[in-house]
Assembly symmetry: C2
Homo-oligomer: 601 residues x 2
C-alpha cells in the first residue's frame, strides 16, 4: 500500500460538508463545473502526486540542486513534473478561461493541486506554485502583450515564474529596496541590482525564468512610495523571435536546512549593463501590485506547512500502529505481548495534536479560499467585506500553520523515538522542510505587526467586526446542538477575551505609544490564531454531528467521531493556552522597550 | 574576536553568588580546593573549548563518521580531544582521588568541563561524558580488579565508555531487554544479543570501547527484575596481556538529523560465540545500578541541550547586534539609516526568551548539582533528603532544557531570518543538534511518567514536600525585598496551583484509574518545569538585587540588570502558561483513553 500523505476524505469533508463548495456552482463563473468535476480533479491530482511527486521526495532532499558556473542543475524530474503540471492544467487551475486557465474555484485549486502536491513533495510543488503566483500578477496587472507573451509559456510549465523582493540590505524592510530601473525610449527599463533568497530563480528544469521583481525607477521617491513592479525575464525574446540572454545571472545558491529540492538563488541583474525590465502597471505602485501576489503566497506558505505536517502526521500514525512497545499500564506483566504504541495515551495525545493542527489549519485555509471565491463572484459592499475578511485572516492563515506545523512535525518525529532522528524514516526531513515557513514571505514577526497594526485597524476596525460576526454565526449554529453547547460557550468566552485584549491594545495605541502597542504583536497573532482554529474546529464539529446523525457505515462513523474527538482535544488542550497569552497581552509593561542591548550579556 | 558560546560571567554568578560553591570547601571531601582553583578550572576549560572544540564544530557536522567493514572512522580530532581531556583530568573531574580523579564538586564539574565543552561542540563533548558515566558506574559498583583494569584507561581518554541499553525490540520498554549472558566457570559470561542507538559504540578515536550493558543471565526472571549489568569490552585483555577481539561487532551506524560528529551504532555481541562479559555487582540488580548512570546521563542531556541553546543564543545575539534592518516605529523615514535589529522589541523578546531558557535551565541544573554535592558530604536523613530532591528534579532537569532548548534554538534561527535557514550560519546546525535531547536517555513521555508516577509518589510524597519547602525558602527570602515581592507572590500562587493539580491527580489515582492518572503526565512535567524555572529565576533575581546594591562598575550593573529584566520576562511571558496547563490537568476527562486507533483517519 502506498504511503498516505493526505486524506482525500478530509478534503471532501471540508469542501462539501463544511464549506459547501457546491454553492459556488450557482454563480456564472463556476457554472460549467459540477461536483463530479471537482471529485475528478481531486482524484487526478492524487494520482499524479502518488506517481510523480511522492516517489522522489527523499531523493530530491538527498540530491539537492548543484550550482556550477552560473547554472543550477536540479533533479531531472523537475522538468517532467513542470511539463506534466502544465499539460494537466494544474498551474492555471484557478485562472480564468480567457487567460488560459481552468477557472476552478480557489477552494478546489487550493486542495488540488496545491495541498495534494505539497503534501507529497513540497519542494517539487513549489516550482508550479511560484509560477502560478507570478503568472497571476501578469494576468491581473499586465498589458495584453505581456499576457500573450508570458502566460501560455508559464501555464504550460515551460517557463518558471518567481517573485523577487529580497535584497541583501533589505529583507523584511521593503522600503530599502534598491534594484534600479533606468528608463529608455525603447519601452523597457535598464535594470541593475541584486536579489537574494529567490526561490527557483534559476534552474535547468525550464527553458526560461520570468522574474516579477520590485525595484525603483531612477528618481523615484524614497521608501515604499517609490517602488515599481517589473517583469525581468532571464531570457528575452530577441529580434528574430528567439530567446536571448537578458543579463540576469545567478551568482550562487544557498545550502539550506531543508526544502532542499528547490534552489534558492542569489541573482545579479545588469552586471553587463544589458538587462531589460518591463514596467507592470503604473510607476511607483509596485508594492500594491506585489501584495496581491504576496497575499496569495502567504496563504500558500500556510498551506505548504499544513501539507508537510499532514505527511508527517500520516507517517507517524502508520508507525504508531505497527510499532510494538511496552504494555498498557493496567497490565504490566512482562510475559504478555507488547502492544502497538498507539495504545498509549501519551502517543494518542501527540497524534491528536498533529491531527488538530493539520485539519484545523486546512480548515482555516479553506475558509480563506471561500472568502477569495466569494470575493470573485460578488460585487459592491459584499465583495469588499469578503476582501476584508481575507485580508484580516491572511497573516493568521500564514502563521498558525507555519509555527504549529513545526511543532506538529516535531511531535511526529518524537513518536518514532530514535528512529525519528534518523534519515531512514521521513520525519526528520519533514521537520527540516517545515522550518522555512515562519520565515519566507514575511516572518511571523512581520505577520503579527500586519495583523494588529494594519488589518485590525484598517477601515476603523471593520475587518475585525466582520470577523467577530462570522465566528458568532458559527457559535449560534453550534448552540442549537446540545452536544456542542459547552464548546460554543467556550468559544464565546474566548471571543470576549479577544475583544478585551484588542480594546486594551487599541487604548495603548490611542495613548500615543505605537511601539508599546505593537511590542507583543507576535503574541497577539498567536492568541488570535488559537481562537481562529477553535472556530474552525467548532465549524467542523457542527458538520460532523449533523452527518453522524444519519451515518451508517463504520468507516464514516469513525471519521466523524474522529473529528469530534479532535475538536474536544482542541478545546481541552489548545484553547486554554489563550489565558496565559491574554495575561501577558493585557500587561503592556514595556519590558522589551525598556531592556537595552547592553543588558543582553 | 572569538565567537562566544557561553558566558563565564554567568557561570561564576551561578557558582558563587547563587549556589555558594565556596560553602563546600568546609567539607573534608573538598577541603583541598579553593575558589582560585575553581576559577582556574573554568578558565582552563574555556581555553581548551576555544582552542580544540569550537573550531571544528561545523566541520564535524559536515564530515560525519564513516562506516566501512565494521570500522567507524570519526573526525581525527576526536583522538586528540579524548587524550587531551584525559591528560587534563577532565574525564575524571569529579571522581575521587582514590579512583584517579580530581575530586571537584559536581557543581564545578558540571560547568567545567561539561557545559563549556558541550556549548563549544556538543558532539565532541559527548565522547568524554559517556566515558565518565560508564567509568562512574565501575567506580561505584565494580570490583577492585575492574577498577584497576578499566578506570585508568578510561579516565585517560584512551578507552571509550558507553551505556548500552536499547535493543531493537526494546526502546523505552526496558523490561523487554534480551541480551543474554550465559554463565561459565571462568568468571565471565558468554554474551549474545544486539544493541541499537549506542552512542560512540565503536570508533577509531580510541584504542578500546568499554560497554556497560544491561542483559539477562540465562534463567533470570522476566521483566525488570531479571536485568543484570555487564561490562563488555570491545577488546578484552588476552592471556599475554595484549588486547584481543571480544566478538563485539559494529553492524552499522545511523544517519542522523544532527549531533553528527558522534557515531550512533548498532552493535552485535557474540555473533561468533566468543563474546565475554563480566557481571557488575549482584545478579538481577542491574537496572538499579544502571539508573545511577542513567540519572547522571539525564542531567547531562539537560545540560547538553542548555549548552547548545547557549551557543545558539550568543550566535543570534551577535547577529542581532550587527544586522541593520528597518527603523524604529516612531521614525519611519526611509532616508534615515536602518537600525540594528536588536533595537526592535520583537527581536528583544526572542533574545529574552533564549536568555530565560538558557540561564534558567543552567540554574536548575546547578541546583541539581548542588544537591548531588550535598548528598556526597552529608549523612543520614539529610543525605536522604538531598537524594530525594535530586531524584525528583532529574526528569525536570532533563526535559525542560531539552524541550525548551529546541524552541530556544528555533527562535535564534528565526532572528537570522533566511540566513538562519542556511548553513553559512551556525543556527541551523544547533537547531538539528538539539532535537535529540527529548529522545535520548528516556523520552519526554517517559520523564513525565517518572515524575508524576514515581517521583511524586515515592515515600508517600516526601520528595514533593521537600521540594515545596525549598521553593518556599526562596520565596520567603525574596519577599524581604520590596522590589521582588510581587514576583514572590506570583510564585507562591503558582505553587498553590501545583499543589491543587497534584492533589487532583492523586485523587484520580486513588480512585483506581492508573491510566487516567498518568494520561497527561507529559503536560504535568511541562507545568512542573515552568514553575521550577520560575523558582530558579527568583533565586537568581534575589542574588542580583543584592549584588546591584553595591555594584559600581558599568559592566556589572548591566549584568545584574539583565538578570532582573530576564526574571521579569520569565514571570511575565512564561509563568502565565501554567494556567492553560492547569485547566487541562484539572479536567481528566479521559479523552486520550476514549479515543481509539480507528478514529485516527
Amino acid at each position: 500500500m502506498a504511503e498516505q500523505f493526505i486524506s482525500d476524505r478530509n478534503l471532501k469533508f471540508l469542501l462539501y460538508e463544511v464549506f459547501n463548495a457546491e454553492d459556488l456552482l450557482a454563480y456564472p463563473r463556476y457554472a460549467e463545473h459540477s461536483r463530479e468535476v471537482f471529485d475528478m480533479v481531486l482524484e487526478t491530482a492524487l494520482k499524479m502526486a502518488r506517481d510523480l511527486f511522492k516517489p522522489i521526495v527523499s531523493e530530491m532532499d538527498k540530491m539537492p540542486p548543484v550550482y556550477a558556473g552560473g547554472d543550477v542543475a536540479v533533479h531531472p524530474a523537475v522538468r517532467t513534473i513542470m511539463r506534466e503540471a502544465g499539460a494537466g492544467g494544474w498551474i492555471g487551475a484557478t485562472f480564468s478561461y480567457e487567460d488560459g486557465g481552468q477557472q476552478l474555484p480557489e477552494m478546489v485549486g487550493m486542495m488540488a493541486p496545491t495541498a495534494i502536491f505539497s503534501a507529497a513533495n513540497y519542494s517539487a510543488a513549489v516550482y508550479q506554485g511560484l509560477t502560478a503566483g507570478a503568472a497571476g500578477l501578469i494576468a491581473s496587472f499586465g498589458t495584453k502583450e505581456m499576457k500573450d507573451r508570458y502566460l501560455p509559456k508559464m501555464l504550460a510549465g515551460e517557463w518558471q515564474g518567481t517573485m523577487a523582493l529580497t535584497e541583501p540590505q533589505a529583507g523584511s524592510s521593503l522600503s530599502d529596496i534598491t534594484l534600479a530601473g533606468e528608463p529608455t525610449d525603447q519601452g523597457y527599463y535598464k535594470m541593475k541590482g541584486q536579489k537574494i533568497f529567490i526561490s527557483a530563480g534559476a534552474h535547468d528544469g525550464v527553458d526560461n525564468v520570468v522574474h516579477l521583481a520590485i525595484g525603483r525607477i531612477k528618481g523615484a521617491p524614497a521608501g515604499v512610495k517609490g517602488i515599481s513592479l517589473f517583469i525581468i525575464p532571464q531570457k528575452r525574446i530577441g529580434a528574430g523571435g528567439d530567446l536571448e540572454a537578458n543579463d540576469v545571472n545567478c551568482a550562487g545558491i544557498y545550502h539550506k536546512l531543508g526544502y532542499r529540492g528547490a534552489p534558492i538563488t542569489h541573482l545579479a541583474f545588469g552586471e553587463n549593463d544589458d538587462c531589460r525590465g518591463w514596467l507592470v502597471g503604473e510607476a511607483n505602485k509596485g508594492l500594491g501590485y506585489m501584495f496581491q501576489m504576496m497575499n496569495g503566497a502567504r496563504i500558500d506558505v500556510g498551506l505548504g506547512a499544513s501539507s508537510i505536517a499532514s505527511a508527517a502526521y500520516y507517517a507517524s500514525l502508520a508507525y504508531a500502529r505497527q510499532r510494538p512497545q511496552g504494555r498498557r499500564l493496567a497490565s504490566k506483566n512482562p510475559l504478555e505481548a507488547q502492544v502497538a504504541i498507539i495504545e498509549h495515551p501519551d502517543i494518542k495525545r501527540m497524534l491528536l495534536f498533529q491531527k488538530a493542527v493539520v485539519e484545523g489549519s486546512l480548515s482555516l485555509l479553506m475558509q480563506c479560499s471561500r472568502y477569495a471565491d466569494m470575493e470573485k463572484v460578488t460585487t459592491g459592499e459584499m465583495r469588499e467585506n469578503y476582501n476584508l475578511l481575507l485580508e484580516l485572516l491572511t497573516p493568521v492563515a500564514k502563521s498558525y500553520p507555519s509555527e504549529m506545523g513545526i511543532l506538529s512535525c516535531s511531535q511526529g518525529l518524537q513518536i518514532l523515538g530514535g528512529y525519528g532522528y534518523c534519515d531512514e524514516f521521513p520525519l526528520e526531513q519533514y521537520y527540516r522542510d517545515v522550518r522555512i515557513h515562519p520565515i519566507h514571505e514575511g516572518t511571523t514577526g512581520i505577520q503579527g505587526m500586519d495583523l494588529l497594526g494594519r488589518k485590525m485597524t484598517m477601515k476603523k476596525g471593520k475587518a475585525g467586526e466582520l470577523y467577530l460576526a462570522e465566528v458568532r454565526k458559527t457559535i449560534r449554529e453550534a448552540e442549537q446542538d446540545a452536544g456542542l453547547k459547552s464548546l460554543a460557550q467556550a468559544l464565546e468566552k474566548a471571543l470576549g477575551l479577544l475583544e478585551k485584549v484588542t480594546a486594551h491594545l487599541f487604548s495603548v495605541a490611542a495613548g500615543g505609544h505605537p511601539e508599546l502597542f505593537l511590542a507583543d504583536a507576535t503574541l497577539y497573532l498567536e492568541f488570535f490564531g488559537i481562537i481562529a482554529i477553535a472556530w474552525q474546529w467548532l465549524l467542523q464539529a457542527t458538520a460532523a454531528r449533523k452527518a453522524l446523525a444519519t451515518a451508517d457505515q463504520e468507516a464514516e462513523i469513525c471519521f466523524y467521531s474522529g473529528k469530534l474527538f479532535t475538536c474536544r482535544y482542541f478545546f481541552g488542550y489548545e484553547l486554554p493556552k489563550i489565558d496565559g497569552l491574554a495575561a501577558r497581552l493585557l500587561c503592556s509593561d514595556g519590558l522589551t522597550l525598556e531592556m537595552q542591548d547592553v543588558h543582553f550579556c
